[in-house]
């Protein structure tokens, strides 16, 4: 059965981020290294070799809005793999996660529901997730999730499709407090879980899925109105260790700020992926 990573990207900067993520997968993973890109954009030739598949967005009619949430439910239909880990483009994989595949293989759908900050402290995001808290919803992260091609998974993504296409109604029904006037995939997943009543089938507390989330308000700093890159130094060294504020980052790093990806970072990732470091 095929396994691999799927990244969704729309727009030049996201394509570059997806390329950086694919490079990080190449050097960090001991087992599964296959990466596919789901995009409607033209991918620069120099980027193409790192992707095993570049798949078009199914049923594409128009570009998505800010976070392209309109198309993200389609990952189930676009993936070329039997088992898929979906990653947001603005992430890097820093360590081997082969063990995750072993755990996830026992399940059909799993969403990440645990994050840390760069200090590796577990954090509960009540700053950005007011609607989740106010409405008693679960707190899944679409940015890192897994599914297997099964009937259950298909049904779940059908629920997610429904929520994405009818999000205003769904918010009114399931998330009326702290109302969000935009479609966010995380809230859509939380509502889809409510709608399909699949809490125990897509979330669990023992799942290894976890990532480092670099949104500034999650870092435990007094000032939250700054960019994290202006507050702590970072370096990606020749061993592939990403050190932020002198703390070595682990597993999956969600850098959030687009300009984190610089030519220097791309060069270092390229060296690492090609075994030159």
């Amino acid at each position: 059965m095929s396994k691999g990573f799927l990244i969704y990207a729309e727009g030049a900067s996201y394509i570059e981020q997806a390329y950086a993520l694919a490079l990080s997968i190449q050097y960090s993973q001991m087992g599964i290294k296959s990466v596919s890109l789901m995009t409607q954009d033209t991918v620069p030739e120099e980027y193409q070799s790192v992707f095993h598949n570049i798949v078009p967005i199914p049923w594409y009619d128009a570009p998505g809005t800010d976070f392209s949430a309109e198309h993200r439910w389609k990952v189930y239909h676009a993936t070329p793999y039997h088992e898929t880990i979906v990653l947001d483009a603005d992430m890097l994989l820093l360590e081997d996660i082969s063990k995750w595949w072993e755990y996830l293989g026992n399940h059909e759908v799993r969403f990440c529901n645990r994050i840390t900050n760069y200090k590796l402290e577990s954090v509960v995001d009540t700053y950005h997730r007011k609607a989740f808290v106010a409405n008693g919803l679960t707190s899944p992260y679409y940015a890192l999730h897994y599914f297997k091609k099964t009937d259950f998974a298909l049904e779940f993504y059908k629920s997610l499709e429904f929520v994405c296409k009818n999000w205003e109604w769904c918010w009114t029904k399931f998330a009326p407090e702290e109302y969000q006037n935009w479609l966010s995939m995380d809230l859509a997943v939380a509502v889809a879980i409510e709608l399909s009543y699949t809490h125990d089938q897509v979330l669990d507390n023992t799942s290894p899925l976890e990532f480092i989330h670099m949104k500034t308000p999650l870092q435990g700093w007094e000032r939250i109105d700054t960019r994290w890159q202006d507050s702590v130094l970072h370096v990606l060294n020749t061993n592939g260790d990403l050190v932020v504020g002198n703390i070595k980052q682990s597993k999956v790093f969600h850098y959030v700020e687009k300009d984190f990806i610089t030519p220097k970072i791309i060069d270092r990732l390229t060296e690492l992926a090609h075994g030159k470091s």
């Binding site: 590796l120 260790d241 002198n246 070595k248 682990s250």
Partner: protein, 282 residues
Amino acid sequence: MTHGAIIFAQNSDKLDYIKLAVFAAKQVKKYLEIPVSIITDSPGWLTNAYPNHPFDQVVEVGFIETTQYKKFHDGALFAQRIQWKNLIRDQVYDLTPYDRTLVIDSDYIINSTVLKPAFDNHYDFQIYHNSMDLAEWRSNKEFTRINQWSVPFYWGTTFIFEKNLVTKAFFDLITYIKANWFYFRMLYRIEDTTFRNDFAFSVAVHIMNGKTNGGFAVELPGKMTYITDKDMLISIDGNKMKFLIEKKNYAGQYTLAKTTGIDVHVMNKMSLSRYIDGGLGV
């Protein structure tokens, strides 16, 4: 394998650390029932002023003229700058006569047997990260991480180590950090210019952990309970201690607090010294 405790005591111009060490050593012997040795630059003062001292061995180190000064409070309303001799703690690996050593500050008052089981643990290095301020209202974030951007805080006040290659590397690393303090201070965004063992230990633990959440430093049993130098010790009676704890928003006013059977880091050394002299520490 030999077990024992070490207390460092280097007198400064205004504080008799040896007096504090003698008192702290008696508490260790009473509750933990292990020998205690002192590392000091003033063995003459020890034998002359405290001829009946409780120390198993007296380890002499050369006199170090220090230029480090630190502001010490004595209650909420008074403070003075006093010499601070804290530069030889990294030498404990070579100086201790024991295979497994408990190191405590001279102002760490043992009142329980809570540390006893730690001697039966076969960890390389045990130390406190978790702590509890007896002033419940005060934030202890300065003792959680060395600053808001950086690594977890560990108390150099109290730790147990076993002599082996790993802990030798650890203390050598502290020596290296101390020798390059300006660099490490900048790197870890430490604002204090004076060298502080807590910070050097915290940085060294972080490095020993591979700069991530590692298992080098194992938490000692219990928690590091403390009063700051803005509070005062009133008295000690058996395993009971009485304190005056600084009141929130009322400088110079205090709340009475009592502990029973809890080891307490009495950071107000002046107050502790007054109590040892006889009478109350206020």
